[in-house]
Amino acid sequence: MSHFRILIVDDEEAMRESLAAWLLKGGHRVDTAASGPEALERMAVDDYDLVMADVKMPGMDGLELLSRIKAEYPFTLVVVITAYGSIESAVTAMKMGASDYLLKPFDPEQLVLLVEKMVSQRGLIKENIALKARILESQTRGFEDLVGASEPMRRVFALIEDVAPTEAPVLITGETGTGKELVSRAIHARSNRAFGPFVAINCGAMTETLLESELFGHERGAFTGAVKARRGRLEMADKGTLFLDEVGEISPQMQVDLLRVLEEKSFNRIGGNELVSSDFRLICATHRDLAAMVEEGQFRSDFYYRINVISVRLPPLRERLEDIPLLASYLLDGQAREAGRRIEGFTPEALEVLTAYAWPGNVRELKNVVERAVIIARGQMIGLEDLAFLRPAAAEGPRLLSLKEMEIDHIQRVLEACEWNVTRAGKLLGIDRVTLSRKIKRYGLVRPGRS
């Protein structure tokens, strides 16, 4: 794009028309306005790439017009024109966001070069806008992954819309696999920080020492193995959103440290003396009942109240069974496309089975099930036979299981729901990792797809 839509604003007709005539010869589309208010009226109906405004105008002067344009049309470039002897107004204009200024009278070459510069700047801005739109689109796809027409989900969507534009910390609660991270991404994508970083960390997946280092970063030599300085996630989230998943796993000491960071918006890296500041919006998630943990003294109340300004509860899948057909179809579309298979949908019997199942692993488990079904399905519809690996009572008929069978079944399901993360599964089952690993070995439990 080398030609512009330009608006010239000057109360002096001769100046206006003369500049317009010049720019027209450059092949640009030019409109004129005799005053600031007239310019704003024009801008309300037409898009302009560049506004060239004289600083000295009666009523609304060029600087006030500049400030209005920057507020209402942030992507429009503005060049102010001012007379020699009033360079201060040019400097002020630059500080207010003008792209450039011209001191009249100016050389014709200066004018042509300036417009060329604006054209190239505008090209960059447009590229940037397009890029951001693509990013936003891909981020809001996260919202589309939160599929649901049920009342509980509609409430969640409405809450996300309300909460997102604020800076309030959000605590997302819900069982494992309900989409807590998706919700946090959806909030981020709809916030004023959408173009900033989204930094996630799973507090349950690491030891306290590792978590501290991941969050706060460290200086070189802070501990054995710290061969170079490293930025922590708190720093990386500056101007963006920090998502603390499984915040219920954080130790009381870590809660104190984080509380201080939230209050002061600054911290030291491990082994560092320099104060690092970071301005982030906090979203936390947990499957635990933090309120109960606070009452039992297992979670700090001051930290709890700090992170729980807004609460979003994600319903488990069994509380929104009416969403299963919709969700399953949505997941099927994605999985089939990825697998390069043409699969039209589910048979009514298959849907019945899906809807009857309890889904302890929630949406994540459903996604796994659909993924497996897509792989093993022979025809163009997912039928009962493709869901045989699912062990709901509805598929096999009610059966009385021995304790051992129930244990195997339950462990298998929890492992699937946790994507075979033994540490997490152990926590859910209330046993330690080592014990769980022994049971897996004893019962010969094997992750699907592995020998």
Partner: protein
């Protein structure tokens, strides 16, 4: 490139140069202008833009356009005056271009080499800066060549052409005498086509 002025041209008559047919552009000397320069411009307008040209009698410098403080003439005011000029025995040509020895400017611009309305009727060109800076006398032929280029460029605007990005095209923007020397005396193929269209509109 150079041409002799037609015989008897000092008598205040309008002279046509070139092929028969009504003149499409009138060349108007303003003030004391070298008559050879005037003839050269007329001849090249004809040869290179296919615009039958006539040379008007010299007119005085338009004092109403003079900006005393800047010692320059406001090109837009000269164009206004030229636009409304209808001297001559018959209907004036659709286009008119004035040649002026003095420095030209616009209120907003420090100087211009020439000025024209896009798709309009009138243009004006100055010889003032075509001799270039420095004490050495620029060869006459070079001054004429630069003058022709500016005149053709401004006339291009009258035919509706805007600035062209092709570096050597006559319609490429040139702010200085030295930059003018880099231009060819030709329009690029696209501008040539557009000029033909502009001319056809004049003849219609």
């Amino acid at each position: 490139m150079t041409a002799q002025p037609p015989a008897g041209s000092a008598g205040g008559e309008v002279h046509e140069a070139g092929p028969a047919g009504p003149a499409l552009i009138r060349v108007v000397p303003l003030g004391q202008i070298d008559q050879v320069a005037v003839a050269v411009v007329a001849a090249n307008l004809q040869a290179l833009l296919d615009l039958t040209a006539e040379i008007a009698p010299a007119q005085p410098l338009p004092e109403q356009a003079r900006l005393k403080a800047r010692d320059q003439y406001d090109a837009s005011l000269i164009i206004k005056a030229l636009r409304s000029d209808s001297t001559g025995p018959e209907r004036p040509p659709p286009l008119v271009i004035g040649l002026i020895p003095s420095d030209l400017c616009l209120p907003l611009l420090t100087y211009v080499l020439g000025e024209a309305e896009l798709g309009g009727r009138a243009a004006v060109v100055s010889l003032f800066r075509l001799a270039g800076p420095g004490p050495d006398q620029t060869p006459r032929h070079l001054v004429y060549e630069r003058l022709v280029k500016v005149a053709l460029h401004e006339t291009g605007h009258l035919l509706g052409l805007t600035h062209c990005r092709v570096p050597v095209c006559l319609m490429n923007f040139s702010p200085s005498a030295s930059r003018l020397d880099e231009l060819s005396l030709e329009l690029c193929p696209v501008c040539r086509r557009l000029a033909r269209r502009g001319r056809a509109r004049l003849r219609a």
